[in-house]
């Protein structure tokens, strides 16, 4: 249960990093990466996934395949 970032579409704005309630998003190399072990899909914190709600590019913060 986790989200992931589609690197080719990411603008590297970093909004997801500071909105993430679980501290699961970090800047690595030249892009942001979601740590699947820490990501909770915001369950228990917010109704919607914060990374997806703030991301300026549609379909860029998406559910990772199980």
């Amino acid at each position: 249960m986790a989200f992931k970032i589609v690197v080719s579409q990411c603008t590297v704005c970093g909004a997801c990093e500071f909105e993430c309630p679980s501290g699961a998003i970090k800047f690595k190399g030249d892009t942001y990466v979601i740590d699947a072990k820490k990501c909770t899909e915001c369950e228990g914190s917010f109704d919607t996934q914060q990374c997806n709600a703030v991301c300026p590019v549609p379909n860029t913060c998406i559910k990772a395949a199980a």
């Binding site: 603008t11 704005c13 909105e19 919607t48 709600a53």
Partner: protein, 496 residues
């Protein structure tokens, strides 16, 4: 004092530092007395003190002082239909466009490198891409760090206003005394056509509801800034058919809430920008449409007409951009601030400005007395200049023309027209000359430091007179003399 000891032209680049120092040390009037003498009559002294070195807040200052933007706050909390967050191109010049994003540490290095090389630098701004108040930690880290090295640099930022009320008190503490809010509507129904969504209180809002929240936060932010005496400029993007008429209403609202300046910017829209408006064929306004709206707004909140809609990483005087000279690659790992060039430049400017102001007031007196004699008329004049308030650029080298209007009331800067360089290494291109003539639509007279016979003739055919007779003169002085020749009975009689 018509001839300055050294022309400002020679200060643009390369900088003759010895000449600067000699001029600065050669006595004459002191910075404070001359600087304050350039104050426009209708401005409060305390406000003049805040804006006199800020090129974006004072039309008068934009001839002398430079700004730089650093792109340290790329995260944004709203989506605008005129913005595409993925877009980046070194050859594009428009808001939100940037070639490299910087960390606060990298930004500080860059600012110091620029301050050492560009003596005109007076203002550091954070203006996208992204929102400076939403991506607050990076904005604050950059400002807090730079004032330790360059304490006299003016700090300003630009925001969409949504997160602004959360940080107004910190802005006070940080000594930020200029804030720009982009306000495109005061009616959420219109807002819904401009903003597809906002991110606020941990969720995404859309439609009219989103614009209602944004509107309320913008007004609250503006009121809070006004209460604290922070000068606030309002930027509005003019979008034909969507908010063009509505901006009259916006102007009233922001004036009531204490905005210092209102800046109407034409929408920049093209399919290749990949913005919603670009892709759906929404057009921007034509130069004369923009001017017509600005003229309708006279008497409301004071208008800014000298905006160049610069890139989010622009460096230099408003009409120029030296950003590409200061990319991270070109900046050493270790830099230390050397204030000498900026200080010397300020001394020279203080003197030159007093001089320019007296030339301007003489010209205005001439025009007023002619208008009384003959009724006068109006002249729309396009000027090629490199700065310093002088006619000091070749027609063929101009990337823009500054536009002045002379009427029986006086001389007013009313805007600028961007053009493609006509002169390509000595050879004029007929195709680009036609484009320039089109951009000079409505202009009566072109003033420049040099113009060839061929372009002069072609302009004449199009009904535009061009002359280099006033090369290196002050802009207003030349316009005054031309006004006298056009409308005066006798020049000598009118001046006397």
């Amino acid at each position: 004092m018509n001839q300055p000891l050294i022309t400002l032209d020679s200060l643009i680049e390369p900088i003759d530092f010895d000449a600067l120092t000699r001029t600065a040390q050669s006595g004459g009037c002191s910075t404070s007395s001359c600087g304050s003498s350039a104050k426009p009559d209708d401005m409060d002294a305390a406000i003049w003190d805040k804006v006199k070195d800020h090129p974006c807040y004072s039309e008068e200052a934009h001839h002398y002082f430079a700004r730089m933007h650093v792109a340290v706050a790329p995260a944004c909390n709203i989506q605008c239909n005129y913005c595409n967050r993925k877009y980046d191109c070194a050859n594009e010049s428009r808001p939100g466009v940037v070639s490299e994003k910087l960390t606060p540490d990298q930004a500080v290095r860059k600012i110091i490198a620029v301050a050492n090389e560009v003596p005109q630098l007076s203002v550091l701004g954070i203006a996208g891409p992204g929102d400076s108040c939403y991506d607050w930690k990076k904005t604050k880290a950059t400002f807090d760090a730079i004032v330790k090295d360059i304490p006299d640099i003016k700090l300003c930022l630009s925001t969409n206003g949504l997160a602004l009320p959360d940080h107004v008190d910190e802005l006070m503490e940080m000594n930020v005394d200029h804030v720009t809010i982009t306000i495109n509507m005061v009616d959420p129904e219109i807002g819904a056509k401009i903003y597809p969504w906002i991110f606020y209180q941990n969720r995404r809002w859309t439609g009219v509801e989103a614009s209602k929240i944004l509107h309320e936060r913008q007004m609250l932010g503006l009121e809070m800034l006004t209460q604290r005496g922070i000068l606030t400029k309002i930027n509005s993007v003019m979008i034909p058919g969507i908010n063009d008429e509505h901006l009259l209403e916006v102007n009233k609202w922001v004036k009531q809430r204490g905005a210092f300046l209102h800046n109407i910017m034409p929408l920049i829209s093209a399919a290749e920008h990949g913005t919603h408006y670009g892709l759906t064929g929404q057009r921007g306004p034509k130069p004369m449409e923009l001017k017509a709206l600005q003229d309708q707004l006279e008497g409301g909140a004071k208008l800014m007409r000298h905006c160049r809609q610069c890139r989010a990483d622009a460096v230099g005087l408003l009409g120029e951009d030296r950003g590409q000279e200061f990319t991270l690659q070109q900046i050493p790992e270790e830099v230390s601030y050397d204030p000498s060039k900026r200080e010397a430049y300020r001394e020279v400017v203080a003197r030159e400005r007093g001089d320019q102001l007296s030339a301007k007031s003489d010209a205005v007196d001439t025009i007023k007395s002619i208008a009384q004699e003959s009724g006068g008329g109006s002249l729309l004049v396009a000027v090629a200049t490199k700065g310093g308030g002088r006619i000091n650029e070749h027609f063929g080298h101009a990337k823009e023309f500054q536009v002045y209007e002379a009427t029986p009331k006086g001389i007013q800067f009313v805007g600028h027209r961007k053009v493609e360089n006509y002169c390509m290494g000595g050879f004029g291109e007929d195709a680009s000359l036609e484009g320039i003539i089109e951009m000079l639509d409505g202009i009566n007279l072109v003033l420049c430091s040099k113009i060839g016979g061929c372009p002069e003739d072609m302009l004449k055919e199009a009904g535009i007179r061009a002359t280099d007779a006033y090369a290196f003169d002050y802009i207003e002085a030349a316009i005054g003399r031309e006004y006298a020749e056009t409308f005066g009975v006798e020049l000598e009689a009118a001046v006397a």
